[in-house]
Amino acid sequence: MISFSNVSLIYPQSTKTILEDLSCEIQEGEMVLVMGETGSGKSSLLRLINGLVPHHTGGILAGDISVDGISTRSVKPGSLAHLVGIVGQNPINGFVTDIVEEELAFSMEALNIPHDVMRKRIEEVLDLLSLSALRGRSIATLSGGEQQRVAIASALVMHPKVLVLDEPTSALDPIAAEEVLSVLHRLVHDLSVTVIIAEHRLERVIQFVDRIIYIEGNGETSIGVADEILRRSELVPPIVKLARALNLSEMGTSVREVRRLTESIREQNFPVAAPEVRNLSSAIEVAAVSYSYNQKIALKEISTTIHHGEIVAIMGRNGAGKSTLLHSIVGLHSPESGTILVNGVDPHSLKGSARRAAIGYVPQEPSDLLFAQSVGEECALADQLGCLHAGSTASLLSRLVPNISAHAHPHDISEGQRLALVLSIVLSGNPDILILDEPTRGLDYQAKNLFALTLKEYASQFNRPVLLATHDVELVAELADRVIFLAEGEIVADGSTLDVLLSSPAFAPQVAKIMSPKPWLTVSDVMRALGDNA
C-alpha cells in the first residue's frame, strides 16, 4: 500500500538528518506504530506519506514514496486526499468549519462528491464513530475525546485506504484513549484500512500494532514486528520493562500474554508491607470550595488537605474540573464559596515576588512563560526576577538537561527540554509549593523519568508538596503518593495511589493489570517485593 524506497530527509538550515535511507513496504490492513524520542522526526515521517513534507514544509527529500502506486513527489497533498486521511496532533487546530456535520462534509465538498453519496457516507461515519448525537453541535464545545473522534471521522468519510494519526491519544484521558484506539483497531480489522500511528505512550497502543518503525535519532531507522524492535529499544513500555526485569524467556505485548508468563510469581505469598506512617502537617487547605463559570458548575463543595512533602496527582476525565481546582489553588480566581489557604495565606491575594516564593506554577502550555530570544537569556531573566546569583537558574537547568545550548531559541528545543527549562525557571524562585497542569504531554519515557526524579527530589529534599493534574497513569504510579479523583466537579476518590489506581480497572497501570491481585503498580514495586522475598 505504501512503499518507501531509499528515503532520506533533511531540512535546510539544520545539520541533523531526519531520515536516512529508509526502505520499507507497508501492506494493506496493517497497523504500524512510529516511535522515537521527542523531536526525532516522527511527525515528519507521517507527513511524508501524504506529501505535506516536503510540499508544505520544505526540506530536501531523496528517494521516493508511493501510496497505492502514486508517487507523492508528483502530486500535491490535496490530490491524495481521497487516499490518505491525516489526523494531526492537535485536532482543534485543523478544524476548518464550526459545526460537526459541516466539518465531516468539508473534504467531500472540496472534491465535488455528489450530494447523495455525501449524505450516505456522513450517516455511515456518524454511526461508526458514535457521533450522531453530536452532529449539530459546535465543535468548540466538544470535549477532547469527542474532537479527536470528529477529526478521525472527517478523515474517514473520504474512505481513505490509509489513515495517518499523529499522537491521537496524547490529550485524552485513559478511557477516551481506549475508545479511540478500539475504533482504530476495528477499522484495521473490519475495513482493512492501513493505519500509521505515532505515539509516545506505548503502553496504550502496543497491543494493537503489527509492526514498528523505530526512529533512532540521527536518521537511522529500524523496522520490524513489535517483539523484535522492543527487545532492543531504549524506549519501552512498562510491560516490556517488567519482562526484562524478570528475565522472562518470551516477550509479550498484551496484558493477557504476560499474565500467562508470570503466573508462578503471582502464586507466591508476599508479606504485606506496613504502610509508612509519616508526620503530616498541612500545607494546602481546601474547604468546601465551589466554582462555576457560564452557569456550569465546575467545582462542587470540594474539601481536601494537601500535606507537606506529599506528591498528589489529580486525575479524572477531560472536563472533570482538574484545571479549575488547580487554578483555584494557584489563586487565579477566588472561589465562589469556601476558602483556600496555602500555608495560611489566601493565594488570590499573592502578588509579585511573594507569589513566586509561595507558589510555583507550570501552566498547561509551558511556553506561555517563555519570551526571550535564547535559553541563556531566559535563565538570566529568572535570576534577575528572583534576585539570585547570576547563573543559578542555568546551573539548575544543566542539572536537569546537561547538554542544552544556552544560545538555542526556546522554541527550537525539544518538548522535554522546554519543560525542563520552564521547570527550572519556576523552581529557581524556590517556591513553597509546586503545581503543574498536565506536564508530560508529548514527552518520551526518558524525559518523563527525568521529570519524575526532579519532582521527587524537590518534594523530599525540602519537604514540600507537589500537586499535578495528569492523564498519565504510568507517571502517577511512578511518582505520586496520593491520588485525588475528580468527576463532575466532585471528589469521587481520595486516597493512596495504590488504593485509588487498583480500584478502577480503566485507570490501573499496566504492571498492576498483569500482577493483579498483587498490590504492585510499577516494575520497581515488583522487583522490591521479589527481592524481599528471596
Binding site: N93, E365, D368, V426, G429
Partner: protein, 247 residues
C-alpha cells in the same frame, strides 16, 4: 436547528442598512437600529463561538464613540452656539493656523462629535451583528471555489481571531501567576505570535491535506437554498435604506 437565512442575505442587508445610516446620518435612527440588532442577535443566537462578536463590536463602537467625543471636544474648529464650559486654550505656534486645542466647548460641538461617533459605532455594530449571526465560515462555503488562495487566507484569519483572544488571555494569566508585576507587550506578543503562526501553518496544512481547492467545482452537503424569506429580508432592508436615503 432554527431555520436560517442565506449568509449573503444577512451581509447584504447589513451593507444596505449601513449605506442608509451613513446617508441619513441621524443618530436617533442609528440608535434605534442598534437596539433592533441587539434584540435580533439575542433571539437568533445559536451558541456558536461567533455569537459574542456582536458584543465585541458594541464594545469597539463604544470605545470609538468616546475617543471621537474627547478628541472632538479638545481639538477642532470652534462651532458657535450655547457654551457649556471652557477649557484652557493651549498656545500653538503661528504656523498652525485654524487649529486650536481647548477653548470654549459649545453644546453644538459636543453634539456634533457625539453624532459622528454614533454613526461610526452603528456601522461597526451592523457588521458585528452580521458576523455573529452567520459565521464567516458559512459565508466562505457559499463563495465560489476559484478564489482558492483568498479562501485559505480567510479561513485562517477568521478562525484565528477568536483563538487569538483566548490565547492572549491564557498567556496573560500564566504570566500573572508567575508573579510578573508588570506585564509588558513583548512578553505576551512573542508567545502569542509564535502560537498563531504555528496554528495558521497547521490549519493551512490541514486544508491542503483535505483536498481544498483540488476540484474546480464544489458540491454542497447542505445546500443553502435562496428562499422567499431571503427575498423578503433583502426587500425590507432595501425599502428601509431607500426611505433613509430619499427622505
Amino acid at each position: 436547528m432554527k431555520a436560517t437565512l442565506h449568509p449573503i442575505t444577512l451581509w447584504l442587508s447589513s451593507l444596505l442598512l449601513a449605506i442608509g445610516v451613513v446617508v441619513l446620518s441621524n443618530p436617533f435612527v442609528a440608535l434605534a437600529i442598534v437596539t433592533l440588532l441587539a434584540v435580533l442577535v439575542h433571539i437568533r443566537q445559536d451558541g456558536s463561538p461567533w455569537n459574542s462578536s456582536f458584543l465585541l463590536s458594541l464594545r469597539i463602537g463604544a470605545m470609538i464613540l468616546s475617543i471621537r467625543t474627547i478628541v472632538g471636544i479638545l481639538i477642532g474648529v470652534p462651532i458657535p452656539g450655547t457654551p457649556i464650559f471652557t477649557l484652557p486654550i493651549l498656545d500653538l505656534p503661528s504656523w498652525m493656523p485654524g487649529i486650536r486645542i481647548g477653548g470654549v466647548v459649545t453644546l453644538e460641538r459636543l453634539s456634533s462629535s457625539l453624532h459622528e461617533g454614533i454613526i461610526i459605532a452603528t456601522l461597526i455594530a451592523l457588521f458585528g451583528a452580521a458576523t455573529s449571526l452567520t459565521s464567516p465560515h458559512k459565508l466562505l462555503r457559499v463563495a465560489p471555489s476559484f478564489i482558492y488562495e483568498i479562501g485559505v487566507t480567510l479561513v485562517i484569519a477568521t478562525s484565528l481571531f477568536p483563538q487569538l483572544a483566548t490565547s492572549a488571555k491564557r498567556i496573560r494569566t500564566a504570566q500573572q501567576l508567575r508573579g510578573f508585576e508588570r506585564i509588558r507587550l513583548r512578553s505576551i506578543a512573542i508567545p502569542l505570535l509564535e502560537e498563531s503562526l504555528s496554528r495558521s501553518l497547521q490549519l493551512a496544512a490541514a486544508m491542503d491535506a483535505r483536498g481544498y481547492g483540488v476540484s474546480r467545482r464544489r458540491s454542497r452537503y447542505r445546500p443553502q437554498p435562496w428562499l422567499l424569506r431571503d427575498n423578503v429580508t433583502i426587500l425590507f432592508a432595501s425599502v428601509v435604506t431607500a426611505a433613509m436615503v430619499l427622505q
